[in-house]
């Protein structure tokens, strides 16, 4: 039979079985809503975590008494070191400027009183992977038997991970990424399971009907198509409703607060139109496939 026939059958199924259809719709709507809220949050969190990780740097302080040759040797060595993405030379003047900006309290007053720049020249080394920081430090200043780090080159005064809590940052952001990833997986899994579950139940409520269809000579696909189309319609409606609610929520709550999001804004956040498309496709696919698969159990007559 034609698509038109199956489509009409699907509409009949939906309108004559409004209770199960509504239940399925509600499930799709709710799970899509939850996912639609969490996807950007997870994205933002991961983005923020990544941004924080990117701030992980290795500062290599140049010894005051290093000769020009030694300095050149150091610069070349840094460039050659594995894991290094880029190296930036920060002369003491620039260092002071930055410090003043970040820490006006200490450097504003202190250095004025001091009348001289207390900071040394420095190389700022950006690792290509934040987790590679330890390796860089190890290479530039390997720890000796007592655990004390000794610079590998004469020009190096000291090698220091910025803020000394690189470990902590890496650990924390890593944890955040694992957590958000796990949560997302849990949510996606739960959503799919919940939708499949509702579909199963809604088809269970109509199993006698499916049996009768088989008994009067309908093939499996003849029975299945309307259910699949029903699934598509329910998924689409649920998805569209969820997207509408999300849009309303975005425009009434989030957009007016946009400035407050400055701190959280992360470049990796999925953009809204893409989110909508992903949600809709997911809803439709899960509903349609769920209907088709669930039906199998009741087609064995």
């Amino acid at each position: 039979m034609s698509f038109g026939f199956f489509f009409k059958e699907a509409i009949r199924g939906l309108s004559r079985n409004s209770a199960p259809a509504l239940a399925a719709l509600l499930t799709v709507l709710l799970t899509a809503l939850v996912l639609g809220v969490f996807i950007p949050i997870v994205q933002a969190t991961t983005g923020t975590a990544n941004e924080v990780r990117e701030r992980v740097l290795v500062n290599v302080y140049v010894a005051e008494d290093a000769t020009k040759a030694e300095r050149e040797q150091l610069a070349a060595a840094l460039e050659r070191t594995a894991n290094v993405k880029s190296v930036e030379y920060v002369p003491k003047e620039q260092g002071l400027k930055e410090a003043r900006r970040k820490n006006p309290e200490a450097f504003g007053r202190g250095v004025d009183l001091l009348g001289a720049n207390p900071l040394p020249d420095m190389y700022r080394v950006v690792p290509d992977d934040p987790d590679g920081v330890a390796a860089i430090v190890d290479r530039l200043a390997p720890a000796n038997a007592d655990g004390v780090r000794e610079p590998s080159l004469a020009a190096i005064d000291e090698v220091r991970n910025k803020e000394e809590d690189t470990e902590k940052i890496l650990s924390a952001t890593g944890l955040v990424k694992i957590l958000t990833g796990g949560l997302m997986a849990l949510l996606v899994f739960a959503s799919i399971a919940l939708i499949a579950n509702t579909l199963r139940l809604s088809i269970f409520a109509r199993r006698r009907e499916v049996e009768v269809m088989k008994l009067v000579g309908a093939t499996n696909w003849f029975i299945r198509w309307p259910f699949v189309i029903e699934g598509v319609i329910v998924g689409l409606m649920g998805g569209v409703l969820a997207v509408m609610l999300l849009t309303i929520a975005k425009e009434t709550f989030i957009d007016p607060l946009e400035d407050r999001f400055a701190l959280l804004a992360a470049p990796e956040t999925i953009d809204f139109p893409l989110l909508i498309v992903v949600l809709l496709i997911a809803c439709v696919a899960v509903s349609a496939a769920g209907s088709a698969i669930t039906l199998r159990r009741f087609l064995r007559v």
Binding site: R16, M213, L215
Partner: protein, 277 residues
């Protein structure tokens, strides 16, 4: 109060007379030593052998619970036999692939004892469904369905749903659905159980006419009057076994109402149309 005796009737005929069949013809239905034991251990059929030729009209009779419905459900492969072999038009049912079962069923019109209507379809759509299933064109459906519904007396209920019908009306929808695509084999399980005698006669006339167009018909029934009037082949089951298989039999073997039956057949307009019995 005394117990109602339904299963054992002492002194009933225990002889089995197999129906004659022209040599070389493939029977439409053949049961070879078929047994059906249900999961709980209760016996549906026990070593039943039977051959039904093309165009035959067979009554399946017997006390309630004797295995009539079991037999019909086995024939359409709704149930699987426990042992033995069923052949439909020479093809072994056990060898029919799951995927091919729908195509088998399209050649078997079935009136179910519990009607088995689709609750979410109107009378019209219920009947139309078994045509849609075989890919009948929309025009054909629009032509055939009202016709058959008029025949069973339901033209005023076309657009009602099954739960808006009386018991007898539902039964007639089931009958219409089984007939509508003129299957070569018609199985009717208690088709007149909820019909008044007059409507019953109408339905049996309809079945008889369908039979005369060449369709093989198996009717499981308790309708004594009907069986006695029609005088066709009667297969009697008791506790899952065939205890009687007579050409032009009566509902009860011991009753002698032959003249009455002949008169009734005249009334039905059956006797004068040259059937071979």
């Amino acid at each position: 109060m005394s117990k109602i005796r339904t299963r054992r009737r002492p002194g009933a005929a225990e002889t089995v007379a197999p129906a004659p069949l022209p040599a070389g013809e493939v029977p439409v239905v053949e049961l070879r030593d078929v047994s059906k034991v249900y999961a709980g251990g209760s016996v549906g059929l026990e070593r039943v052998s039977m051959r039904i030729g093309r165009g035959e009209f067979v009554f399946l009779v017997g006390a309630t619970g004797c295995g009539k419905s079991t037999c019909i459900r086995l024939l359409m492969k709704e149930l699987e036999v426990s042992s033995g072999e069923i052949l439909i038009a020479g093809k072994k049912l056990s060898e029919v692939d799951r995927k091919r079962v729908p195509y088998l069923r399209r050649n078997i019109g079935t009136v179910f004892q519990d009607y088995k209507l689709l609750p979410n379809r109107t009378v019209y759509d219920n009947v139309a469904y078994s045509l849609q299933v075989i890919g009948e064109s929309r025009e054909e459906i629009r032509r055939k369905v009202p016709d058959i519904l008029r025949l069973v007396g339901l033209s005023t209920k076309l657009h009602n749903y099954p739960d808006e019908l009386s018991g007898g009306e539902q039964q007639r929808v089931s009958i219409a659905r089984a007939f509508v695509n003129h299957p070569p084999l018609l199985l009717a399980d208690e088709p007149t159980g909820n019909l008044d005698p007059e409507t019953s006669i109408g339905i049996m006339q309809l079945i008889y006419r369908i039979n005369r167009t060449g369709t093989t018909v198996v009717v499981a029934t308790h309708d004594k009057e009907m069986v006695d009037k029609m005088r066709r082949r009667v297969v009697e089951l008791r506790d899952g076994r065939i205890v009687r298989d007579e050409q032009s039999g009566l509902y009860r073997p011991d009753e002698s109402t032959t003249e009455f039956a002949i008169r009734l057949r005249g009334e039905l307009g059956v006797g004068d149309e040259g059937n071979p019995n």
